[in-house]
């Protein structure tokens, strides 16, 4: 294993597949996507298989995540947004599981790939735009015209609204990607200090204690970030869906 902190983000082909000159290989990233889906779906499926009236601990974890997302979506987008519950729930569980799986040493973190987070963000914004136009027609464009803005300022405000709308997929994807990437690099760098300082002899081993403590602390912080970023992604998805359900209400 290389000491290079970006080595963990390298993609390796496991099963090379090439269709029409485009590389669709099954890579380690693909493997961990499959693992994420398997772990998340397997957990939810197995813990709820008893359908207990009185839940077991693990069943109540599944129920809590269900109710957590349901209440988040109901608060964010109202009852009209509940038709997007499967989408928000899938996104949250997928990102959370992917982030947590990435915390295992030698595991690949799929949410540290900008293309993955960008695809998920585009999926969200695409749903918002598609549903917004489907439901409200051109009324969806009221989204860019806030109420009670003086006529003089209106062009400026509309321009700002459009820019902020267009930047949403970027901010949504970069936030998740950058958090996971930076966290894992930091962790790797501090862990690297431990090994390189230890190689310097007794004094170095003494000096390695500090980065070791940092590594442990950052690991704890990273678990928090894993949950928090999945939560933030889901909350923002709910807010954006609210725009699709109720355009012009803000």
């Amino acid at each position: 294993m290389s000491n290079d902190p970006t080595h963990q983000f390298l993609i390796n082909k496991i099963v090379p597949i090439e269709i029409g000159g485009i590389d669709f290989s099954f890579t380690n990233a693909s493997l961990f996507m499959v693992a994420t889906v398997g772990a998340a779906a397997g957990f939810l499926y197995l813990t709820t298989s008893q359908r207990g009236l009185v839940p077991t601990r693990l069943q109540s974890v599944s129920e809590m995540s269900y109710e957590f997302i349901a209440s988040m979506l109901r608060e964010g987008a109202g009852n009209g947004g509940m038709k997007f519950f499967p989408m928000v729930f899938s996104l949250f569980m997928f990102i959370l599981t992917a982030n947590l799986l990435g915390m295992f040493p030698y595991f690949f973190t799929i949410t540290s790939q900008i293309i993955v987070t960008f695809a998920l963000a585009l999926f969200v914004i695409g749903t918002v735009v598609f549903y917004g136009f489907y439901k409200h027609g051109f009324g969806f464009l009221k989204l860019f015209v806030p109420h009670g803005v003086p006529g003089v300022l209106l062009p400026l405000v509309v321009a700002i609204e459009i820019i902020s709308f267009l930047s949403r997929p970027i901010s949504l994807s970069v936030r998740l990607f950058a958090n996971m990437l930076a966290g894992h690099i930091t962790l790797k760098v501090f862990a690297g200090f431990v090994t390189s300082l230890s190689a310097l002899g007794a004094l170095g081993i003494g000096g390695a204690i500090l980065p070791l403590i940092m590594t442990v602390a950052i690991t704890g912080l990273e678990f928090l970030v894993c949950f928090l970023q999945a939560y933030v992604f889901a909350v923002l998805t709910c807010m954006y869906l609210n725009d699709a359900v109720h355009p012009g209400s803000h």
């Binding site: 993609i11 990233a29 790939q113 695809a119």
Partner: protein, 204 residues
């Protein structure tokens, strides 16, 4: 990590080419730079390496699509069902509990009603008994009193009778005694009429 034979071969050839270039240029690469380029096969930062974008997108679409289907067709209806069943069951239990409470309240009310009725009846019986006893006592007393007063009257009558008779006897005795006394004292005789007159004058 997972490195296939083909990939390893590819990277070694690139590395070889790089090393050749580096030797020609005179060691311009840093150590990390060489390792980096050797492993990635290109100089870009791995997450921005666009050569894998197509494969990532395809596999993300496959896996996330499958996950979405699983969630919306299996998991969410199942958890929703569990929660709804529990909700219904709790509501049903609450209904049952309030029904039972109503029954208990009704039972308490009817019990208290019966208790009050029984108490009233008890009072009634006691009052009746007391009244009967009282009136009987009064009647008995009256009968006894009547009896007694009758006896008293009879006794008084007899006493008066005896008294009159005794008084009458007293007059006769006094006359006889007076006759005897007078005879003894004066030796003469006094007429009966005189003695009776004298007794009457002194007596009574």
């Amino acid at each position: 990590m997972f490195v296939t034979a083909a990939y390893a071969q590819q990277s070694t050839t690139t590395e070889g080419a790089e090393a050749h270039d580096a030797a020609a240029a005179g060691e311009v690469h840093t150590e990390t730079g060489v390792a980096h380029e050797g492993e990635a096969g290109s100089g870009v930062f791995p997450p921005f390496d666009s050569t894998h974008f197509a494969s990532q997108l395809l596999w993300l679409a496959i896996t996330f699509g499958l996950f979405y289907l699983l969630m919306s067709k299996v998991i969410i209806p199942r958890i929703g069902g569990i929660l709804e069943t529990r909700h219904d069951r709790i509501a049903q239990d609450l209904d049952e509990a309030s029904r039972l409470k109503g029954e208990a309240d009704a039972a308490i009310a009817s019990y208290e009603q019966e208790l009050a009725a029984a108490k009233a009846k008890g009072h009634q019986i006691a009052d009746g008994a007391r009244e009967a006893a009282k009136s009987k006592a009064v009647a008995d007393r009256n009968a006894v009193e009547a009896d007694l007063s009758k006896k008293i009257t009879a006794a008084e009558d007899r006493i008066a009778d005896i008294k009159t008779k005794a008084l009458a006897d007293v007059g006769a005795i006094a006359e006889e005694t007076a006759t005897a006394v007078v005879k003894q004292l004066i030796g003469g005789t006094v007429t009966k009429a005189e003695i009776v007159a004298a007794v009457k004058a002194s007596g009574n």
